[in-house]
Symmetry: none
Subunit: 208 residues, 4 copies
DNA sequence: AATGAATGAGTTTTCATTCAT
DNA sequence: TATGAATGAAAACTCATTCAT
């Protein structure tokens, strides 16, 4: 009984944490981190605002948690792609698809990641974690260079920033509404990034 | 004589405005817009905080002013490049140089533009103005496509976001300290962006 | 039980609101609305100043609330008198007694009403509500005229302003300390107003 | 020359004082004393706000000055009436006419006197001076009682407050716009006050 | 005398966080 | 676990007053 109780209450605990976390994502996305009040999050989650502090140490901790949860998910996906099959160009294309796809799946979450975490000066530590994502792309590009598929006159590090920047800018444009987000347009954006970055990083001899 | 007097007192006013604006840039860059107190700006400028309100209506107004001043400068530079001589690829290279160079000239200012204004949800109206910069790059790319220099299978609009994203990401990395900012490294970054975006947007037949 | 709980917690809320409202009355009366700081009110109520904003939207809102609460009480009393028995002169006397009596009961409150609300240009909307009180007196006087008890050569509207003015001036004098407020003196003032206004408004034929 | 110069500059000084004082009256009337900024007054007068402090010690001093200037004018008028010819009732009528007439002449000024000075808790000293006005009316009424014209069962002091209150309330209503201010209506109000207060204070035997 | 830039004390208001229940 | 009342630090902003020119 204690065990079951423990489990079930642990499950309840997790459900509550999740409920609050997801409410936070929506409100952060809507109003921005700084303009969001803890009571807004609580109201969105349908709980008393004091309860937020049972589950999270602070407002910043909540943002951090939102970030970690989703970011680690992305990082795993990127690592899978890097270790997976296909040419470097194919795998880069898959990276673009993963990143842009995550916006399609959870635009509000991505909005928070893009507008709040990535650019926040306070979340230096988290920004470090973002580097993990870059590092995976960087490794993927280095692999491609060593395999003779990708040009070697550009450092893998810089190449990863350029790739990431292209993706990030498009997502930001979707988030801010400066690029349309119909399925058609989103697919076109995906193809455009793949085409430009693919050609831009390809070994000259290998360019189509 | 009255005219001269008017000018000189106007000059004093302008000098003060500028003094406060430049102090604001430094403090915004150092601590971020939200974490900056008006009294920090006043202290940095060496004036009483009340004086800030003599010259600017509010803290947000100050940020807006900082943005407009510097942004319009950049926009003019971009437009000059677009209308200037050279192949589309040459002019794209000049765009990259202008943007990255502005960071070299005034890293704190660019930091504010990049981290605060560009991503701020409150400054929607200003974000609109940012589009002007994109539009110029877009026009430059369209010109290149029509001249047969640049590939036509990517819309000029998306191409401009990709280009901008590559530039923006590198500047952000400089600002956040995740990429080194020695002269050597900054030049390497410039060459990398020019190389990758240039090749990525080039008409296949024209690729070297 | 839930109901009782709801009631009691609502009762706690109401008690706090009341506690703060009554503290506000005392401090407004003591220092005047403009010179009163929200923190003064909080201190008088023995709570943190932030709590004031838990219960009232702003300092002005608090004044408005004080006004509405007490004014509506007076208006009800006036209306009761108007509809009650007795000659018009008797009922006018009762009106005087009600108004002056309210000062005896809650001099601080009346002081706020008289010095702050009634004369404030900002509370125009509330000044509208004050007209309701006048209107009741006006109706009472009109009734008296139609019954042949009161003179008809003075409009009921002007007569109500004159009556009200006599009452208001005496209360103001009490508030400002320019007339003594011993029981004896207050009764004398009441008799004086009743006598003068009564005779002044009486139908000539009916004058004693 | 020195003498002439002194005179003329003294005349200039007086003109400036007057210019600022009259501007202050208009702005106080428009926005109320507390809500009026010194710079508003300066702007209304068309001078720099620093200049206000060359002529007046403080904002409160300015209000005090406005009050004294006009109040002493009224007090002189009241005293003239008291010492003048006619029955007590006639002279009371003249008092009403003087007071109401002053509103016709300078409504903004009267508005300041009525809404700001008379009711201000800060201007205790000035409120004392107001008593002078009451005292004159009180003396006039006492004279009438001693001459057997006015009833003796009401103290002259209370009678003066009642008279004053009737006048004050009507002026306040004009100021706040709750009574119409056409010539016709203003004359009707004057007649009403004279009729009611006159009959109310008359010796019973003498009532018409 | 005149200007208006400069000062800074003072006030309202917000909101993250704590805590009694 | 859950509530929401209570706290108080912190920050933007105002404006009377001073003062250099």
């Amino acid at each position: 009984m204690a065990g079951a109780g423990g489990q079930s209450s642990s499950g309840v605990r997790d459900a509550r944490r999740r409920q609050i976390r997801e409410a936070a994502v929506r409100v952060f996305a809507e109003r921005g981190y700084h303009a969001t009040r803890v009571s807004d999050i609580a109201a969105e989650a349908g709980v008393a605002h004091g309860l937020v502090y049972h589950y999270f140490a602070s407002k910043e901790d909540l943002l951090r948690e939102v970030f970690r949860r989703s970011w680690s998910h992305l990082v795993v996906g990127l690592e899978d792609i890097r270790q997976g099959p296909g040419s470097a160009t194919d795998r880069l294309a898959r990276v673009v698809r993963l990143m842009l796809g995550s916006y399609r799946m959870a635009p509000e979450l991505v909005r928070v990641l893009v507008l709040e975490v990535t650019r926040s000066a306070n979340l230096r530590h988290e920004v470090e974690e973002i580097r993990t994502g870059f590092a995976t792309i960087e490794a993927l590009i280095r692999d491609g260079q060593e395999a003779g598929e990708l040009r070697r006159d550009v450092s893998p590090e810089l190449a990863s920033y350029i790739t990431w920047g292209a993706i990030d800018e498009v997502i930001t444009a979707w988030v801010l509404g400066t690029l349309p987000t119909t399925d058609e347009e989103m697919s076109a954006a995906e193809r455009a990034i793949v085409a430009v970055v693919g050609a831009g990083l390809a070994e000259p001899a290998a360019r189509t």
